[in-house]
Symmetry: C2
Subunit: 415 residues, 2 copies
DNA sequence: AGTATTTTTTCGGGGCTCGAAAAAATGGGG
DNA sequence: CCCCATTTTTTCGAGCCCCGAAAAAATACT
């Protein structure tokens, strides 16, 4: 209950809801929209008529498949792909990619590029990001004016308002306000999103049955990241993107973590930690800079074959993840988990110790019912998440604009 | 964006907001309400006229103090104490209390009672709760029909819908649907709330400057509990009340906890754990049933005097709490903390080790800026929280009723 | 071709909020 | 003591928005 509902907000919200219903359902008829939104047929008729007139929706002589029903056939409504476009920029270790996506969600252009993020100076890193975006704008096939939003995703910690990267493992640079930089350069609203949060957003669109209101996406890669959806909303910290599962302390004073602290979950379960344990280098050994995906796959294969230090390394990773998850479950209760990233492909080596550890925690009372799913490739998820994030912004802020909900003075009611 | 906004909802929401503004401000004029809610003067005039007509608000020839301004004097609006009443029931270890509170928030009747919760059979425990409530209803001074809501608070885990106690340290009984039991018996809507959540609600009303959108209330008592407010809303788990800071694992395989597991924060920081360490009983010693508050105060006094095992026990408690809080901060970022309960009075003994531990965690980057406040007495807070909870329900559901927001089919937008 | 069925649009009614103007209530000054 | 300036509150007409019912449209079935 932040602030009074003005009369104009009403139409704005209902417009946004119709758009959202279409984006979700794909090609719903007006009647279907009325059913899912709870609004009357007349209202849906009026709003969709407006939206079609504005070029946001199109009538798509739908359901050619279904002609077996009597009565006037339904007219499917769909998003007009040309209504707008958005751009996604994903920056990860030594890798930068950009994509242009139409309003209906189809990729219409993309470019990928290798670069040495770890050693690049600040200006060069920013420059590369701007350059790759600029090249898209110079593409004669692309209608520049149609790009309505840029969503950038990065491995690392961002601020809770999606404006800046605060810290990232892919570069020694800190506090780069990418969102502002992109906005200043191109004059288009932009956001800076955390990679794991975007994974969660994408999973929700991909499989809304499994990933609905409460679930967890965990990135098992060089580091350990997490995206959390609780009560249907993306969870962020009070200042940062939050959800740093990888840096919860598993063993006080324990193994040396990449972050400089000791005993973090990541110091047992990150690729570098699994590598370090498999090579029996000791817990104080400086984390290696990067272990290739191929090396990790070879390690996993070896661990499956022989019961040696490699298998033990995965066991320790599972234990650390299990206690970390168990501590998380103590706070939020158990929820479905998606394991993403190269080590998710080795989840068979991780799972036994993980479940054993969870069973020793408060969240483990129903440990057998906690379900895990795996997805080895994180980059497509991150891009999809950024795309949906940007498109949803266009849906809500551009195509359903209105008196902005000012920060409430009354404040939400907590009692 | 759960479901379409019907036209009738509009007035309902704005009514609720006016009531909320009055409850918050105490005696605001119509003009003030218009300012805080952002609604127009005409709308506020119409709504408050309705509310006065219905006996919910009263005009209170306000501000007799301020007659120095020119112009028509403001008329203060205040809650009509007789508009309704609510009842709070607080069940804690060996102690049961009930209070009747008028619509303006004043206590108009109360009763307290000692009882042996640990050994009582299920029916007797329920019976005592019903009996103490029934006696309030038989009070000839009380207008029975005015009681519109009962909020019961209990030490222990409740379900996320505030219907049942799932588990509690004060009784071996589990899964008692107190909310349903009270509703069935008295025909009045009831909820079953977690004690620490109610502490958080009360703190927010007591000191909204310090405890606004993000803060943590920690109960340091026989066990360790937590109430969490994030982004202005009470945080609960997906199934239970959640927030079990006390049962996050501090040291895998460590000290024996009351819950039967090993290494929980509580197994180092609960009263019984401090006692056990102070008496050098070993970490495997069975947790004692109850340590009196007087014993704990004596222990703290001794620890302040001599650098012996007592002081070390508090140090260990601080360390466990510090790592627990640090892990929490890794997820949500730092936030102001209120320490409540008998051991909050010994926070001077706990704080150094706590800060040292936090500094070793991801959340500890700004550990010096994390502020702690202490409040030794939890029971008044729990009762106040229950009262506000119940009153807010009356504000929103009874005095601003309307088409219930059905569970949305469309679902909230996460992207 | 006519009828049944289903979807979509149209139309009138009722509510709600808003802005502007009027009314109400008080202090200050001549 | 009266009148004006000032501030708060109410009144009133206009403009939107949503809803329900009925009409219109579009197709399958007979």
């Amino acid at each position: 209950m932040s602030v009074g509902i003005r009369h104009d907000d009403l139409r704005r919200r209902n417009r946004a809801m119709v758009i959202s219903a279409v984006r979700r359902a794909g090609q719903p008829s007006r009647t279907e929209i009325a059913a899912t939104t709870g609004l009357s047929h007349s209202t849906i008729s009026a709003i969709s008529s407006d939206l079609i007139g504005e070029g946001i929706l199109t009538e798509s002589k739908a359901s050619e498949t279904v002609s077996l029903k009597r009565g006037r056939p339904q007219v499917g409504l769909s998003l007009n792909p040309e209504a707008a476009a958005v751009m996604t920029v994903v920056l990860s270790l030594n890798f930068l990619s950009v994509a242009v996506i139409d309003y209906a969600g189809q990729v219409i252009a993309e470019e990928q590029r290798r670069l040495d993020t770890l050693t690049m100076p600040r200006d060069e890193l920013i420059g590369e990001c701007l350059a790759i975006v600029r090249r898209r704008f110079e593409d004669p096939d692309l209608n520049v004016h149609s790009v309505a939003r840029i969503a950038m995703g990065i491995q690392g910690i961002t601020d809770s308002h999606s404006r800046a990267m605060l810290w990232s493992p892919i570069t020694p640079q800190t506090d780069i306000a990418f969102a502002d930089i992109l906005e200043d350069e191109f004059g288009i609203p932009a956001t800076m999103e955390n990679d794991c949060n975007m994974m969660a957003v994408a999973l929700r669109w991909r499989d809304p049955d499994r990933y609905r209101d409460d679930f967890i996406a965990i990135l098992l890669s060089h580091g350990i990241g997490m995206g959390l959806v609780l009560k249907g909303e993306l969870f962020t910290g009070t200042h940062s993107s939050g959800g740093e599962l990888g840096h919860m302390i598993h063993r006080p004073g324990g193994a040396l973590c990449r972050c400089g602290r000791r005993g973090c979950v990541e110091a047992y379960a990150g690729n570098y930690a699994i590598w370090r344990n498999a090579k029996q280098m000791g817990e104080d050994a400086e984390p290696v800079a990067d272990v290739s995906d191929a090396d990790m796959r070879a390690l996993a294969a070896l661990a499956r074959e022989v019961d040696g230090p490699e298998r033990e390394a995965y066991r320790k990773a599972g234990e650390a993840l299990g206690f970390g998850l168990g501590n998380l479950f103590a706070l939020i209760d158990p929820a479905p988990v998606a394991m993403v990233g190269v080590s998710a492909a080795a989840f068979d080596l991780i799972e036994p110790a993980l479940r054993e550890a969870i069973a020793q925690t408060a969240g483990g009372q129903h440990s057998k019912s906690i379900s895990f799913d795996t997805e080895p490739n994180e980059l497509p998820l991150i891009r999809e998440g950024c795309a949906m994030r940007a498109l949803t912004f266009v849906d809500q802020e551009i195509f359903a604009p209105g008196a902005q909900a000012k920060p409430g003075i009354v404040g939400k009611s907590v009692a």
